[in-house]
Each structure stands twice: as structure tokens, then as C-alpha cells.
Amino acid sequence: MAVSLKVNGATRSVNAEPDTPLLYALRNDLELNAAKFGCGLSQCGACTVLVDGVPTRSCATPLSRVGQSEVITLEGLGTTAKLHPLQQAFIDEQAGQCGYCLNGMIMAAKALLDKNPRPTEAQVRDGLAGNLCRCGSHNRIVRAVLRAAQTNGRI
């Protein structure tokens, strides 16, 4: 059954049941790699996307619940040629080891900075508390978010 979705500013149609988790439509139908399967249980944050600006676990969000909301994925923030300040900051801080968590970290950080453009370090840590990282890259990630917040302020 065809379901229409608004993703990164474009209207897309996917052939899937309405109870399909958004994650699989993004990854397999729209070939967007960024959102990752980590648990499928809303526990790790690897699959985070923004739905109408709200950080959302796409693994546990059926297409039927997305409707015509605006979905923004990491691909929608920037590209290697034109990086979003958060993406640039993650590269500048070399924030990551395996990098599997980074999609969720950046998307959660984006939602945080949208609400609170100048967070304290403690606010960044709390804002990312629901995103797991196995590699111990946490401190670099926090530094990257704080760096992006500064850059944002200057733009």
C-alpha cells in the first residue's frame, strides 16, 4: 500500500504497510543511511530523526503516526560539500570512534540547540542522556555540540 511521507522537504511515496516503522521506510525505501537500527525498542537513540522538529525514535514510530508531518533526517541537515555546523563540529572534534551512534547524537543535539541555542555543558549531557554510545566518545560529542552552539551564535 502506498504511503506518502514528507522527508527532508520532499514528498515521497513508499509501498509499505501503515504499521511499518518509519526507520525501515527511510533506510530501505528512501535509501537514507543515517538513521540506524540499534535496538528497535526506543532505548538507544541510534534511529533518531526529527518529526515536526521533535526528536523521534523512528524504530518505534509507525508510518501511520507520521502522516504528513515533516521528517528531517541527518541527510537533511547538510552534505559533505555543505556541512551543517553540527556536522562540521563533529568532524572538527573528531567526535566518534565507530560512529554508529552519531546520527542519533547529532539529531538529538539539533533538537536541543533549536530549543536552547546556548546550552551549558550539563544541559548538553542531559539532553543526550537517552542516546547511548558504546565507544566512549561521549566527551568529544559534548565538545562538538558546544562548539556548534558557538558557531551557530556567530552565523
Binding site: N33, K36, G38, C39, L41, G78, F90, S137, R140
Partner: protein, 736 residues
């Protein structure tokens, strides 16, 4: 293969410690030919390592693989340095049985030592070959030529690029290992913090992981696992599942039950239906978790005294101290569950996998599937950071088993979260028992026993098939035996021999032959638990001797590099000799030289104990590291700090839960790990040793960190935690 062959070390080039682990690689070591440093010994052709291309670029081939540790960036730096090429003109191909050298597993922090050493020498030799060709062309002496950025210039200004010499450069020859690499003082690329080559894709949604591989016609596979180890499939509702939407194949082979569907969510629904309808005959009961360590110690063991230093008996008046420490089963718990893609076409199987060793995986898959290794090609693609032998290899076999039923269509399998937690091989539960004595501020006796299941149950074992699903096939395969490794890498006994200068010591490893829970290699193998015990015990002895823990360690080290590392961390943390905790806060130190032959690392942490909730917080940590010549300072900091944080998570939170009927850690709620607000701030001091060979450092901080936390807790509260993890229940019990 006998472990005792595999322990020779070679320093011919001053950089090339050959540190072969208990290596299960099929490649026979060449006995007659001269010994070459690093992995050149087993892959001797220059062309196995490097190609010079007509466009002036170089291609580097390595059997090592990227596991998130930044190794490919480090290896590219080494090759670019020796070749005098800019990093941007070096391309790297890794872990592909069709293209790269066989370097066994990427494990044990040995990639820079093995692959890096090979590339360093091969690069120097290839550069010399290119210089010779240019010298002939110009009719001048090679020593009159200069090279910069891949262009060779003669004294009279004539120039030739590497690309122009590519055709004539014959690299199909055995390396001599005789061309001296650049002296460190001339390094321009090695020693720099080069941005990781893989990160840009990872922050923009580029295809970076095997999870992102999408092949034409690809279907999605899932496995209906048994409810517990060893359960046998009796029946299931085949008709119902075959009729489900999108199902393209259903595979049942003995107790291996799997499905493939057009869409991923269809495969998941189908496998849920399979699992719901399947009836299983129960497998054997697991140990009683309440009596785990006793029961493990009672199992049959193979006992080896790995160090025995005799000296006159205890000085009279010595104080005797005894302590027993425990470490539970701990999971790799990769953030992304294991994944592989397999395609079987015309009898040729191609497998894309985040395995740590494409060659051992190929050899073992061939035996599991009844195929010949040349009919299988294994290609490495990255996965989520695995930190050892997790489900990566198992899922590759799963994909291959399903691919036999999909008529040439590629099959992608990603394990579900519960499947990853329940079926991965864990880091073994271990018991460490120490008895020592001090007199006049010095250790006069040291006895240490460690009990552990095997840490070496990887694919590649000659005597068994270490791939999960093969044990459930109708023609059931069996895993290899429990293995020990011997020096210098060791396994359950890794870092069981302290580097301290002790007059009397006896250290015994008890390898448990049985596998009540599935175990294999987890980052550091036994190193984490042994350093926990050894360094906790050092503090217990220091307390008995009435000496400050830092001073006590310094009094027992013999290697000046150890002393420097311990002093550096004490200075960074502003350690006050004799400093005391206040019931809530305290600081502690942990030190080890990883594997006793690799990087030196010391850690000091500060803990804050909430005596009501039993929670330990670690606000700050300081660490110092000597990893010889530093290839990438930032890469080294990332590894050391990442290891410290991961170790803090293992230490405060992690234990695989189970009951008699099976594993009950199935998600991040039943296997919690440290989260962002609790992660300590870390300050890292690097001690560069430009004239010493690079030492593996990827696992160095795991052990010192757990010990530092244990010692800080003791300093803070006057009570000692000897059983991991230090969760609120144990903390409260210790304070009661």
C-alpha cells in the same frame, strides 16, 4: 598449531616486534626464509602491500580492518610517510580475501605493530625501488635525487613522477626488510593528528557500514533462535509463515530456523510468527547465578603456572594479605546489532561482514557450509564498534545459510537486539585469588591464581567450528576446545603477571574447559579482570605496609618508562602523597603495561559515593600513556579516553544476567551501560617516545581504569569492592 612457536619476537628493524597471538591463521609460517618484521613475515611480497598507480597514487593493502579505532587512517599515515606521498594520494583497501594480505584477526592492539611495521618497511623499500628507476632514467646516482609529494627531482632539475614509473616498478618481489625507514626526526605525516578518513560519511549519512549495503534484488533474512542454549527444534507452523506477506524463503536445517522476505519489517514479522509457533526441547540448565563463581571453579581446568620465582621464604614479621576478586560475564553489546550480507551465485559465495578476520571467517564458513575456501570471498565492511569477537562472524554464516535458498538474491541479515544480547560470546566470568606479604614497605611474597573460561573461541580454530548456527544444523558442528594463548599475549591470564619487581612470585592460570555460557574475546581478554585484581591488591598491600599507593608502586617498578607514566599521572592529578578520602569522595590509581609488552598506562580517578542510593559517580579522571612512537596523537587520546569510559561502564554497571533457564539480559534495560551525564571528564597526558617502536594502545586503559575506581572507592569509604560490577546493591552491602 602449537602456541610455543608463536611467541618469538623480533626487533631486527628496531620497530618490528612480531607479536603473534595464538594465531589461527591458516598461513604457514615460512620456516627457512629470513624472518621479516611485522606481518611481512607471513605476507612477504611487496605487491601484497602496495601498488603504485599510473595516476601517481598508491594503493595500500592491509589485512587489518577498521573497527572504529581509526586504524586505516593510522596505516595510511605510515605508508604515505615512507612513500613521500601526500595522504590524499594514498588509497587503502582492507580485509578482503580476494585482494589483501592475510593478517588473521584485527585484535589485541597489534595492528600498528604488525600491519604498520610491514607497511613502514614495504613503503621504504618501494620508495627505494622508484628512486633506483629514476636514477637509471636520469643516469645519476640514486643518492643525488630528492623526493617530495611523489615527484622525484634530479640535481639538474629533471623531474619524474611516481605515476610515470608505475609500469616499470616491479613490486612482485619478496620484501628484503633491509631498506631503513625514515628516521623519526624527518616525519611529517606520522605523529600528526590527521582527521579520520571515515568520519565525514558517518556524520552525513554516507554509506559507511555493512548495515548500509543495499544490493539489487536484496532480501532480508532473520533467524528464529532457540529460547536457550542447546534447545532443539521439534515443530513449527511452516504453512502459516510461508503464506505471510513478502516471505520468499523459509530455511529449516536441524534446529536452524530462518526466513527471508522482500522487506525488512516483513522478515521481522515472519520470524516473530516462526518463534511464536516453534516448539523446542529444552537445552541444559545454566549455572545458578547466586553460586556462579563457586560452580565455575568446580569445573575441570587445565592449570599452568605461568610464572614461578623462588626466593627464601617470608621475612619474619611480614604482614600477610589475602583477597579474592570476581568479574562477571560481560557483553560486547555493540550499539548496532551484528549484520552481514551474503550472495550465492554459480557456486560462488560472497559475504560482506564486519568480522575482525576475513580469512579465518572464510576458512571456518567453508567448513560449516561444506564448501572450498576459494569458492568464498569475504569482504570487510565496518559495523558498530565490536570490541572483540561478537556476533559479526555468526551473522555472516546466518546470511550464507539463508542465501542458499534465495536463488542468487543477496540476503541481508541484521540480528535483533535481544538476539545480540542472548547469543553473542561474552567476556568470561573470572575469579582472581591473591595472597601476598609485605615487610618494611616492600612486597616479599606474591601468589596469584586466576580461573577463567576460554577467551579464544573465534573462527579459525583448527579443531572446531566456532560459528553459532553451525551447532544447530542437522549435521551439527562442534565448537573448538577452550584455548589458552601463552606469552606474550596470554588470554585469561593476560596481565596476570605483574610488571613489578617482586622477589618471590607464583602465578597460575586455571583454564576452565567447559562453556556454561558462551564466551570468547572481549577487549583486553583477561587483562581487565587481572589488572583489577593485581592493582586492587597492590593497594591492599600498600595499606598493610602503610605506604602511599603511588609511592608504593614507584618503589616496585624497575622500568624507567613505567616510572615516568606513573609520575606523569600523579602530577596531572596533583596527587598528594598520603591523601585521604572523606567518606564520600576519594581518589585511586591503577597502572599496567598492557600485555606486559605493549603500551604503558596509568589512571587516577576521583569517585563520589552516594551512600544512600549506593551510586558511584566518577566526576574526573586523569590518565597518562606511553605508546612508544605516536602515530596520531589525537587518535591515541581517542582510544585511551574511549577505553577509560568503556571500562568505567563495565565497572559500575555491566553484568550479563541469566537464570537457570537462559539469558535474561535482552535489551538496554536489562544490560544497562553508562550514559552521557555520568561520563567522567578525562585529562590525558601523552608521553611520546619518538625513538621507540609504536606499541599497541587500543586496549591499554581498560585495566588501569577499573583498578583506579576500586581503589578510589576504598580511599573514599575505607571499604573495598572485590566483585564487579560496583552497582548500588554491592556498594550498599559494602557500606553496611
Amino acid at each position: 598449531m602449537n602456541a610455543s612457536h608463536l611467541t618469538r619476537r623480533d626487533f631486527t628493524a628496531g620497530i618490528g616486534g612480531i607479536v603473534l597471538a595464538f594465531s589461527l591463521t591458516p598461513a604457514a609460517l615460512t620456516q627457512q626464509a629470513p624472518r621479516l618484521p611485522g606481518s611481512l613475515q607471513t605476507n612477504r611480497m611487496l605487491s601484497a602491500w602496495l601498488a603504485i598507480n599510473a595516476d601517481g597514487t598508491a594503493t595500500v593493502f592491509t589485512g587489518k580492518v577498521e573497527l572504529g579505532q581509526g586504524i586505516l587512517t593510522a596505516l595510511a599515515q605510515i605508508a604515505a610517510e615512507e612513500l613521500d606521498l601526500p595522504l590524499s594520494r594514498v588509497r587503502i583497501i582492507s580485509g578482503d580475501t580476494g585482494r589483501t594480505p592475510n593478517e588473521g584477526q584485527t585484535a589485541g592492539s597489534q595492528s600498528v605493530e604488525n600491519s604498520g611495521t610491514a607497511l613502514r618497511l614495504a613503503g621504504a623499500e618501494v620508495r627505494a625501488i622508484l628512486l633506483d628507476l629514476a636514477a637509471k632514467k636520469f643516469g645519476v646516482g640514486a643518492d643525488t635525487l630528492k623526493v617530495a609529494d611523489g615527484v622525484i627531482t634530479a640535481a639538474d632539475g629533471r623531474k619524474v613522477g611516481y605515476g610515470d614509473l608505475a609500469k616499470e616498478a616491479d613490486l612482485k618481489r619478496e620484501a628484503t626488510g633491509k631498506v631503513a625507514p625514515k628516521p623519526t626526526a624527518q616525519h611529517r605525516i606520522v605523529g600528526q593528528s590527521i582527521p579520520r578518513v571515515d568520519l565525514a560519511a558517518k556524520v552525513t549519512g554516507g554509506a559507511a557500514f555493512v548495515q548500509d549495503l543495499r544490493l539489487p534484488g536484496m532480501v532480508h533474512g532473520r533467524v528464529a533462535r532457540p529460547p536457550q542454549y542447546g534447545a532443539q527444534l521439534e515443530s513449527f507452523d511452516e504453512a502459516k509463515v510461508r503464506a505471510m506477506p513478502g516471505v520468499v524463503a523459509l530455511v529449516r536445517d536441524g534446529s536452524f530456523l530462518a526466513v527471508a522476505a522482500e522487506r525488512e519489517e516483513q522478515a521481522i514479522k515472519a520470524v516473530e510468527a516462526l518463534s511464536a509457533s516453534a516448539k523446542w526441547k529444552a537445552g541444559p540448565a545454566l549455572p545458578d547465578p547466586a553460586r556462579l563463581y563457586e560452580q565455575l571453579k568446580a569445573l575441570p581446568t587445565q592449570d599452568t603456572t605461568i610464572s614461578n620465582k623462588e626466593a627464601p621464604l617470608l621475612a619474619s614479621g611480614a604482614k600477610v594479605v589475602e583477597a579474592t576478586y570476581h568479574r562477571p560475564y560481560q557483553a560486547h553489546a555493540a550499539l548496532g546489532p551484528s549484520c552481514a550480507v551474503a550472495q550465492l551465485r554459480d557456486g560462488q559465495l560472497t559475504v560482506w561482514s564486519h568480522t575482525q578476520g576475513v580469512f579465518p571467517l572464510r576458512a571456518t564458513m567453508a567448513r560449516a557450509l561444506g564448501m572450498k575456501p576459494p569458492s568464498i570471498r569475504c569482504i570487510h565492511m565496518e559495523g558498530a564498534g565490536c570490541y572483540g569477537h561478537n556476533g559479526a562472524d555468526d551473522v555472516a554464516l546466518d546470511a550464507a545459510l539463508i542465501a542458499r535458498a534465495t536463488n542468487g538474491r543477496p540476503v541481508r541479515v541484521q540480528w535483533m537486539r535481544a538476539e545480540e544480547f542472548m547469543w553473542e560470546p561474552y567476556g568470561p566470568a573470572m575469579t582472581m585469588q591473591a595472597k601476598g606479604a609485605v615487610a618494611d614497605g616492600r612486597i616479599v611474597d606474591w601468589n596469584y591464581d586466576v580461573w577463567s573460561q576460554s577467551h579464544n573461541m573465534r573462527p579459525g580454530d583448527p579443531d572446531g567450528i566456532n560459528l553459532l548456527s553451525s551447532w544447530y544444523l542437522a549435521d551439527a558442528k562442534t565448537p573448538g576446545p577452550a584455548r589458552q594463548a601463552g606469552p606474550p599475549n596470554y588470554a585469561g591470564d593476560r596481565n596476570a603477571i605483574p610488571t613489578y619487581d617482586l622477589p618471590r612470585q607464583r602465578i597460575t592460570h586455571h583454564l576452565i574447559k567447559d562453556n556454561p555460557l558462551r564466551t570468547s574475546a572481549l577487549r583486553t581478554l583477561g587483562g581487565y579482570a587481572n589488572v583489577f585484581a593485581v592493582e586492587s591488591f597492590m593497594d591492599e598491600l600498600a595499606a598493610a605496609a602503610g605506604v602511599d599507593p603511588v609511592a608504593f608502586r614507584l618503589a616496585h617498578v624497575k622500568d624507567p618508562r613505567e616510572k615516568a607514566v606513573i609520575e606523569a599521572v600523579a602530577k596531572a592529578a596533583n596527587w598528594k602523597p598520603g591523601e585521604k578520602g572523606d567518606g564520600v569522595r576519594g581518589r585511586g590509581i591503577g597502572y599496567s603495561r598492557y600485555k606486559t609488552v605493549a603500551a604503558y598506562n596509568a589512571v587516577i580517578v576521583e569517585v563520589e559515593v552516594d551512600r544512600t542510593s549506593g551510586r558511584i559517580k566518577i566526576p574526573r579522571a586523569w590518565t597518562s600513556v606511553d605508546a612508544g612512537l605516536i602515530i596520531s596523537p589525537d587518535g591515541l587520546i581517542n582510544q585511551i579516553e574511549g577505553g577509560l569510559i568503556q571500562s568505567a561502564s563495565w565497572t559500575l554497571h555491566e553484568a550479563v544476567r541469566f537464570d537457570r533457564s537462559g539469558i535474561t539480559s535482552r535489551d538496554w534495560a536489562s544490560y544497562p551501560i553508562m550514559t552521557m551525564p555520568d561520563v567522567p571528564k578525562v585529562e590525558t597526558v601523552l608521553l611520546n617516545r619518538p625513538n621507540d617502536r609504536p606499541l599497541g594502545a587500543g586496549e591499554a586503559s581498560q585495566g588501569p581504569t577499573v583498578a583506579a575506581i576500586a581503589n578510589a572507592f576504598a580511599a573514599a569509604t575505607g571499604r573495598r569492592l572485590r566483585e564487579l560490577p560496583f552497582d548500588p546493591a554491592r556498594v550498599k552491602a559494602a557500606l553496611a
